[in-house]
Each structure stands twice: as C-alpha cells, then as structure tokens.
C-alpha cells in the first residue's frame, strides 16, 4: 500500500473552504440540513454516506451546481476570503474549473463525445489563464504525460470513445488539474470502475493534488477509500452530519452508532470451516467463448475471444467465487456456464450429462435448475410487472402446481428474502436493495441447484451490500444451492466464497480455497487484485 493514514495534519492553517449551516431543500423536503465543515489548504476531506445522505447535494451546492428542484435555502460557503453565496454568477463561473475543479462519477458522460481530447483539455485552462497557444500545448502534453497516457500527442487528436473508462477518468483528471485548482471536488470518481483501475486513478489524483497543493473534497460511499486516502472524514446520514474526525480515528474507534454500522458493513473474512465437497454439479471443460467481430461494410472484423479454454467445476452446495478486473471475461464465463451465451468451443456437463449443444432432456433439466441474479436490479426486473408476478413467473415451468400452491410458494419466497407482503409493488416503488431481494427471490423460487450471482451487490450501498450478502449466505445454508459468485470486489468474495477462481484475460491464472488465495496468493495478478481492494487495517 502506497499511502499511510497519518499524514501531518494541515488543519492548523486558515481554512480554504468553510461551509456554515448549509441547508438544501427540494420543496419542503430537506436534503441537506445545517451542515458545517471546513477544508484546510492541501487537506483531503472525505464526505461519506449512503444514497440519500445528501453528500452529493453538499458537494454540488459549493459550486452552485444543484440539479433543478434542489435549492440552497440557508448557509454560507466561503472560499478563502470570498463568500460564494454572495458573489455575482459571473465570478462564480470564473471560479468553477479555475480555483475549484470537479470530477464526476461517470467518465463516459462527463467528457464531450464530439470534441477531441485536446480541445477539452484546453477549455478550462484557456478560460482561466492567458497562455499562448504553444504554452497551452506544452502544458497539455506535460499533464497527459503526468497522468501516464501513452502517446500524448496522439491523444490530443483522439476522441473520448477511443479510450477505456479508466483512461477517460485519467484524462478527465488531467483536464481538471491543468489549471492547478485550489480545491478539487471529486464525487464518487471511481465508482463505475473496477478495483484495480480505481486504485490507480485515486493514487494519481492524490499525487497530483499534493504536487499542486490542491485540497480535495472526496465524496464517496466507500469507507475503504476513506481509510486509504483521506486525512479527515465527515459521515452524513439523511442530510445531517453524524460524526466528524480524523479518518483513522473515525474508522478504528467510531463514536456514533451509524458510523459503527458503516464500519461493520465493510466486508470481513470470518472463519469458515471447510465443508465436505459434494459430487460435481456443473462442469466446464476447455470452455471457449468468441464474440463475433463487428460487421463492417464488406467484411466482418476478427472475432474477439472472451473466454479461452476454461476448466471449472462446481460441486453441490459449494460457493465458487470468480474474480477478475473488467475485461477479464468473468461475466461472459458466468453467462456461458448457464448457456445464456452459447460457447464456441469446449464442453459443459450437468450432473454428468453433456449439455453443450442439447436443447432437450438434460438441457431442459439444467435450464430449470440453474438460475441467475444480475448486477443491476434496475434493469433486471421488467418495469411493467408487479414483483409478485415477476417472482411467480419461473413457476410456469413447474408442472402440477395449483394456483393456490403457486401463490403459497411465492408468498413463502417473499418471506424468505425479507419482503413479506410486498408482492403487489412495482419495481420502481422499491429501493435498490429491495429490488435485488426480488431478483434473488425469482432465482430461488424454483429451488434451484445452482445460482449464478453476477456482481449482485456492486450497485448497492455498503450497509445494503452487507444485508444482501448475509441473505445469500443464509438462503444457501437453508436451501443448499451451489453458487457461482462473480465479482471484482474481493471484500464481498471474502464474505461468501468457499473457493476462489481468479480470471485474467479469459484464462484462469490461479484457484484455490478462499483462505489460500487471500493469505498466500501465488500469481502477481491475484496479488494486485488483493492490494487494490479497499479495506480498513
């Protein structure tokens, strides 16, 4: 780990940013209630909370960039000597992108797809300085080198879509840091990225901030990031500040119940007795998956091989975790094991029967016995159906169930996932965690032998993640289904897995029992993944 927790406190200096009694309202609903804090020059302050805590609204209020409907109704915000709530809009615009930089969550949408990188990089700097074209160019190149973009000259002429999410976030960072802002507001800057890339970007952000003496307001839901990067932290819940203090103290000795709850929600590895391994349920031998290349005008581009000959067996009742960064092929492998994606090579065996290409008999049995829970509970539920109908749908294929039996089974399943009596709701009337519970209910209602869980918690808040992981474990203990748990987050994996399989570029590079992988990783890629996992220690 490159950073330590205790850096010299900068709080003795006069504050760079001082927020006093900030109040943000949406009509009569209070989104942020009387929040006060200050940031010293060069300090890194984390604003921590779950969705709905008001952390994003707070960050946006500083810049006067609240979304329509939200309004600052009280409070003062001072940057140095200036009162940001009293200055004319023209002056505020001057500060934005100049003295105050900002990085947003979605690297895909925060760069303009129709402008070259060079143009976008220059935008803020040209506005806030009077450099000549040649000086501007030199500054851009130097900055792109600094954020480790290969071929900076070429990059200036390229468009955003030519870069991956991680690269785009680097470019975004370069654009923001170019005018050397005094304050950087980073709102969940890496939530859409996998852990490996997340660590790279944040390390870089902190280095750049230190180079320029920039203070950082890091808005995040992830306590692991607070532990690694922040000097001080502010915990928010429902628009109020619950606790404030040095990051280390807050995480190791939280005073408030809510902070403790958040800290406890950090994934932990509890001892787990080795379980007797049952007979093999589903087995892949030399599995290969190709994605056809894009159709061009006269020919087809070369196929892309996402999974390159994987051997993987899952025993009855066992939880196998499939881990790897984005692009490692783990999601494709999971889909292929369920034959939702047709493998282009290799074989699949279910209960010993070859089901690689069959469409009847054992395949039908396999189809009904193996289920999936998707990552995004917002897109995996049909928005037009009541959740009761959604959960009842798999029972269409269960012969000999009467209407009453079916209703009883659905009610019992809702009970099991902790949503008793919610079956008449529509998906949009439920929270993210509740939706994921519905998705789990749909997967287990037919009492499956295997559930593939594809990043089932990565779209959820920390405390909700904890609950969903606990639910999966509990259901597994009660019902004994096997689970293929796909995740880039080793923290979650540590909580649920019996066995861990590490995938890199479509190949298995290491596999073993959970404790063996976590305690004595052999492959460098496994070690890199482990190092990049945010945690408190």
């Amino acid at each position: 780990m490159s950073m330590t927790l205790d850096r010299p406190a900068a709080a003795s200096l006069a504050p760079l940013l001082a927020v006093e009694g900030l109040r943000v309202q949406a009509g009569n609903n209070v989104a942020v209630a009387d929040v006060s804090f200050s940031v010293a020059p060069g300090e890194i302050l984390a604003l921590v909370g779950e969705s709905g805590s008001g952390k994003t609204a707070t960050g946006r209020a500083i810049l006067g960039l609240l979304p329509p409907g939200l309004e600052r109704s009280a409070g003062r915000i001072r940057l140095g000597e200036e009162d940001l709530t009293a200055i004319p809009p023209a002056r505020l615009r001057q500060l934005r992108g100049g003295a105050i930089g900002m990085v947003f969550q979605e690297p895909m949408v925060s760069l303009n797809p129709a402008m070259t990188i060079g143009k976008q990089l220059g935008e803020a700097l040209a506005l806030h300085s009077d450099l000549s074209a040649a000086e501007l160019h030199a500054a851009k190149i130097a900055m792109l080198k600094r954020v480790q973009i290969p071929d900076p000259e070429g990059c200036l002429r390229a468009y955003p879509h030519e870069f991956s999410g991680g690269m785009r976030q680097r470019i975004m960072l370069a654009a923001v840091m170019l005018p050397k802002p005094r304050l950087l507001i980073a709102d969940e800057p890496t939530t859409a990225l996998d852990n490996l890339v997340q660590a790279e970007i944040l390390d870089l952000m902190v280095e750049l901030a230190r180079d320029n003496g920039t203070a950082v307001l890091l808005v995040t839901h992830n306590l692991g990031l607070v532990a690694r990067y922040a000097d001080r932290a502010l915990v928010m819940q429902q628009g109020r500040v619950v606790e404030e203090g040095p990051a280390r103290r807050l995480l190791t000795a939280p005073r408030e119940a809510y902070t403790r709850l958040l800290v406890e929600a950090m994934p932990q590895r509890s001892p787990r007795p080795p379980r007797p391994v049952g007979e093999t349920l589903l087995e892949a031998r030399g599995l290969v998956v190709d994605y056809p290349g894009r159709a061009r005008l006269f020919r087809r581009a070369a196929a892309k091989r996402a999974v390159q000959g994987v051997d993987l067996a899952i025993a009855r009742g066992e939880t196998v975790a499939l881990v790897g960064g984005s692009g490692s092929g783990k999601t494709t492998l999971g889909r292929a094991m369920l034959r939702l994606v047709q493998p282009s090579g290799g074989q699949l065996f279910f209960n010993g029967a070859d089901i690689t290409t069959r469409k009847d008999g054992p395949y039908r049995e396999f189809r009904l016995a193996c289920q999936i829970v998707f990552q995004d509970p917002y897109s995996s539920l049909d928005p037009r159906m009541r959740v009761g109908e959604i959960v009842a749908e798999p029972l269409r294929h269960e012969p000999g169930l009467s209407g009453a039996q079916r209703a009883a089974r659905v009610a019992e399943t809702f009970e099991a996932v902790g949503l008793p009596g919610m079956d008449q709701r529509l998906p949009h009337q439920l929270s993210g965690g509740q939706r994921q519970r519905v998705a789990i209910a749909r997967a287990i209602v037919r009492r499956p032998a295997l559930v593939v869980a594809d990043e089932p918690v990565s779209a959820l808040d920390m405390t909700v993640q904890k609950q969903i992981l606990a639910l999966i474990r509990q259901l597994q203990a009660e019902r004994g289904f096997a689970c293929l748990f796909i995740s880039h987050d080793l923290g979650a994996v540590a909580e649920v897995a019996d066995r861990v399989v590490v995938l890199q570029q479509g190949r298995i590079v290491e596999q073993g029992s959970r404790d063996a992988i976590f305690d004595t990783p052999q492959h460098p890629y496994t070690r890199a993944l482990l190092d990049a996992t945010p945690r408190i220690d």
């Binding site: 999936i372 897109s379 539920l381 928005p383 798999p394 294929h397 529509l426 949009h428």
Partner: protein, 270 residues
C-alpha cells in the same frame, strides 16, 4: 394534474365523436343525402344549424354521418398500420441478422416513398372506396410503425430482464410476447394517435383528388373539398368540417398522452 386534464378533455371529445358517429346510424336531423335545390347554400339558421351545402343538404346531418365514415376509415387505417408494422418490427428487431436486414431494406424503400403517393398508386389499382383507402393508407403508414417498434425492440432486448426471462426457461416467443412487446407500447400509442390524425387528413386529401370515399356519401374530407369553391360566399361550409377535424385530432392526441402516462408504470403515483 396535467395528466388528468388530458384524460378528461380527450376522453370527452372522443366520447362525443363516437356517440355522434353511432347516433348518425339511427337518427340525423335531416337526411344527409336529401337534395333540396331550392334551399341550397343557406346560411346557418334555426332550422339548419350549420346551413346547407351547394345542393341544399343539411350540413349538421352530413357532419354526423361523416363522423362515422371518417372515424371508421381512420381507425381501421391505424389498426392495419399498427398490426402490420408491429409484426414486421418485432420480427426484424428480435431475429436480427439477415431477416432484419431484408425486412428493413423493403421497409426503408417504402419509407423513402411519400405515403400519399403510395396510397394514390394503390388506390388506382384497388379502385376508390373506403376499403381501398384503409388498405392503401394502412400499408403506407406501416413502415413508420415498423421502424419505431424495431428501435424499441433493439433496446429492450438488451435489457437484463429479457435475459432473465430466458434464464428461467421461457421460450423466445413467450419472452417476446410477455416482456418485449409491452415495452414498445408507449412510443407506439403516441405514434398511433398522431397517425389517426394523418389518416383523417390523408382521407380528405384523397377525397379531394377524387380517389376517396365516393360521393354522395359524406366524409369530413370530401365535405371540405366540396366547400372549396364557396370559400368566399359560404364560409360556414368550410369552417364546420375543418373544426370537426381539428377537434377530433385534439381529442385523440390528448387521450393518447393520457394513455401513455397511464401505461408507463413509472409515471404512476406510488
């Protein structure tokens, strides 16, 4: 409350329209086809509320009878276009590959052709009648529907709930019917309502050219066409069918908006 207002006004106008159309089959103040040459081109009066036309027929009676014909033609046209277009769009969007390319090739060729011209050509073959209009306009509008449906299908089929439906063992056909088709409804309803308007207008244009519903049967379109020479001397002859067309379009569009809001569960109050 906007959505209630749409529903109420749109509903009222459409109810009025349908009630009038139904009523005209059993009762009208005068015989809509009854010629009275001595009473021609009379201004609105207590006897003839909206006056009489160039051969002395009562305008109110003809408007009532015309409501039936115009609405029937427009409704059937929309029904034909939506059924045909949805079928093509669903198959093309869901099958993709060669099927999609072939269907869309034909579809785009049809789209590139002005709808009214296509209808004219078809009517020349089929002969001028209200069924000919329905067939011709239905066929002319179907490609637009197919485009819209295919677009929605392409985006919906990538959503995870469609994959989830496959994962629980549902057949492709069932998935298409239960999860994909309903998702195409909201853009389709908006399109269908404006198409109802186009159909009424296109029918009047075709009638004007002598290829619509043949006289003496009244439609709003051919009444408007027949009133054109008297625009200066008997303005009421043009105003009343024009106002009827405008009100019918307003009603159907407002109802369409209300329906769309209602059909999309995300717009529904909690």
């Amino acid at each position: 409350m906007r959505f209630r207002l749409n529903a109420v006004i749109g509903g009222l106008l459409m109810t009025l329209l349908l009630a009038t159309a139904l009523l005209s089959t059993v009762w009208t103040p005068f015989n809509p086809l009854g010629v009275a040459l001595r009473a021609r081109l009379q201004a609105p009066s207590a006897l003839h509320w909206l006056g009489t036309d160039e051969v002395g027929r009562d305008v109110v009676s003809r408007l009532m009878a015309g409501a039936g014909t115009s609405c029937l033609v427009a409704l059937l046209t929309v029904a034909v276009a939506v059924t045909l277009g949805t079928a093509i769009g669903l198959v093309a969007g869901f099958a993709r590959g060669w099927t999609d390319r072939l269907l869309m090739l034909v579809n785009d060729a049809l789209l590139a052709f002005p709808g009214i011209l296509l209808a004219l050509g078809l009517l020349a073959v089929l002969g001028a009648s209200q069924w000919g209009i329905v067939a011709a306009l239905g066929l002319a509008y179907a490609p637009t529907v197919a485009r819209i449906v295919r677009g929605s299908v392409l985006s919906i089929r990538e959503r995870e709930f469609v994959e989830a439906s496959r994962a629980i063992g549902n057949s492709e056909l069932y998935t298409l019917w239960r999860h994909v088709l309903p998702g195409t409804a909201s853009p389709l309803i908006v399109l269908a309502t404006s198409m109802f308007g186009w159909a009424i207008l296109a029918e009047s244009a075709l009638s004007f050219l002598g290829l619509g519903v043949p006289p003496p049967a009244p439609t709003w379109g051919n009444m408007l066409a027949a009133a054109r020479p008297y625009l200066e001397t008997a303005t009421w002859l043009s105003l009343s069918p024009g106002a009827c067309i405008a009100l019918a379009l307003l009603g159907v569009n407002m109802l369409g908006d209300a329906l769309r809001d209602r059909l999309d569960p995300r717009g529904r109050p909690q």
